[in-house]
């Protein structure tokens, strides 16, 4: 809002008038105070002696970690396969559960906007807001440690994510096609199969691959709480301070993540 301001007789262009300028300064000040207060809390909870010591420790760890123990690789193939399975099967089961939830949550397909939609939305929010590591922690306590707990954790965590994106895609579909199918006298299920599903299929495939990529990243660390995969090896190596093995595992994880991102980008490029 360009403003004309008169100061000693001359007129100057200003971006904002006095009032909005003051409000902005006030907002910035409050923001800065909040940040500084947060920083003070963090600083109070920190042992600064350790922090000043950090460069030495980092150099020390780096020195120990540097030649990665390549021979350890032969023990990593199986955990890597487990990690892949956790991510892939987890995504698969998540999609199986996410599709009905998404149809129940989308405004245009839900059977009851008053009763069922809020339940579906609650499922989406609650599964989405809890990290897969927490799900894994919980499931390891319930189901016992292993790949199975990791898989279920990934599956539960992904339901909300997939269902949210999918129901947004369902709400954005072209209603003309649905009407055309309805006009032929199709039943509710036929409308769904011929009017809605073909329209959301590309979005569905995109979401599946996207989530699979995220799940690969997440499944690499699930082992830290005992839920199988390469994280288990990472935890073992960290606990025994076997830094060369840690380096190798980190390299492997990094490589896996890059490859999975590449695959997902390729597939999404092919779909869209």
């Amino acid at each position: 809002m360009p403003q004309i301001l008169t100061g000693d007789g001359t007129k100057t262009w200003m971006l904002r008038d006095r009032k909005s300028q003051f409000t902005r300064w006030g907002a910035w000040m409050i923001g800065t105070i909040i940040f500084l207060w947060c920083w003070k809390q963090i600083s109070d909870a920190t042992t600064w002696f350790f922090v000043w010591d950090a460069p030495r420790i980092a150099a020390d760890i780096g020195g120990r970690a540097i030649p990665p123990r390549w021979s350890y690789m032969e023990k990593l193939w199986e955990p890597l396969w487990d990690t892949l399975n956790i991510a892939t099967l987890g995504t698969f089961f998540a999609l199986l559960m996410a599709v009905p939830v998404a149809f129940l949550a989308a405004r245009n397909t839900t059977p009851s906007a008053l009763l069922i939609r809020p339940i579906a939305l609650l499922i989406i929010v609650s599964t989405r807001s809890i990290n897969s590591l927490i799900w894994a922690l919980l499931l390891v306590a319930i189901l016992g440690p292993g790949v199975f707990a990791g898989m279920i954790a990934i599956a539960i965590r992904s339901i909300g994510f997939c269902a949210k994106l999918l129901y947004e895609a369902i709400e954005e579909i072209d209603t003309k096609q649905v009407e055309a199918i309805t006009a032929t006298g199709a039943s509710r299920w036929q409308v769904m199969a011929y009017g809605i599903v073909p329209q959301i299929m590309p979005a569905f495939a995109g979401i599946a691959v996207f989530r699979w990529d995220i799940n690969i990243r997440e499944s690499t660390v699930l082992g830290l709480v005992g839920a199988g995969g390469i994280g288990l090896q990472l935890k073992g190596s960290l606990d025994t301070l076997a830094w060369p093995q840690v380096t190798l595992i980190l390299i492997v994880i990094f490589g896996t993540v890059i490859i999975s991102e590449w695959i997902s980008a390729k597939v999404r490029g092919a779909i869209i």
């Binding site: 350790f50 922090v51 420790i57 399975n85 892939t88 016992g144």
Partner: protein, 270 residues
């Protein structure tokens, strides 16, 4: 209509397949089946252990109906405040650091060497999982919220810089050129030609990242990097499912409120 429709038009209509190339469709299908058999056979599930665990699982579900907020109220409060502090501070630092990285990672602004360096930073920050970074930083800086704060800041840089850089690459060139044509210096060009165009997006992304940082801060405590995660972990270790349920409910509530707020803010600025 004595003759069936299919006889008149030749062949019946079929739904077109999603993947048009037949060989690719079959290859994917067979590959998926083979993979599933291999994966499921390597997945050994101890069903008796699972069966035993179901009772405990049921206890947890029951605990959700009677969450215990009171007996560890002090711990929960402390943990939540620490999580909030960590996520706010990390979001601020993340924004401040991600802006220059984003400018460098936008191909239409930055020269190639800077572009490559900034893209490298983004890729590194995104590829490393928060937990792994947190483990390393805890090993280096010691236990406490500082390690968590640094982890979240580092993760925020990659996230914000990538999405902001994409937005800068998509901006309207004519506005930026108009500012340049007035003889503006580089910083003026950025400030008046580019910043106003990406500001709404930056605000939206920052709110979204605050939300993510809070969610992530809930797990950093598992590896000793401060926040509510430590309290949660203790609750699980002691099988105090009612306290764990209370913490999870608080996390869900906070995330819902944040998501709602960020929705309002994003709708207002965009």
């Amino acid at each position: 209509m004595s003759v069936a429709l299919s006889e008149r038009v030749g062949r019946e209509w079929r739904k077109p397949p999603f993947i048009k190339r037949a060989w690719l469709r079959w290859a994917l299908l067979i590959g998926a089946v083979v993979y599933f058999i291999a994966a499921l056979s390597s997945l050994d599930v101890n069903w008796s252990r699972v069966y035993e665990g179901l009772e405990r699982g049921w206890k947890f579900v029951v605990a959700f109906s009677s969450p215990d907020f009171s007996s560890r109220a002090a711990d929960i409060k402390e943990g939540m405040i620490e999580s909030a502090i960590m996520s706010i501070a990390a979001t601020v630092v993340g924004i401040v650091l991600s802006v220059p990285v984003a400018l460098g990672a936008a191909r239409n602004i930055a020269p190639l060497p800077i572009y490559l360096i900034c893209r490298g930073i983004v890729a590194l920050s995104r590829a490393l999982n928060e937990i792994i970074v947190a483990i390393l930083l805890v090993a280096i800086f010691g236990f406490g919220p500082l390690a968590g704060f640094l982890t979240l800041s580092f993760a925020s840089i990659g996230f914000l810089a990538k999405l902001l850089a994409e937005d800068i690459e998509d901006l309207d060139r004519s506005q930026a050129e108009a500012v340049k044509a007035t003889g503006a210096s580089w910083s003026q060009w950025i400030n008046y030609g580019i910043q106003p165009q990406v500001m709404p997006r930056l605000i939206g992304l920052s709110m979204y990242r605050l939300d993510i940082n809070f969610r992530e801060s809930a797990i950093l405590g598992l590896v000793g990097a401060g926040g509510i995660g430590a309290t949660l972990n203790t609750a699980f270790d002691r099988y105090e499912f009612d306290t764990a349920a209370a913490i999870l409910l608080i996390i869900i509530a906070v995330v819902m409120v944040l998501e709602y707020l960020s929705g309002i803010i994003r709708a207002r600025v965009q």
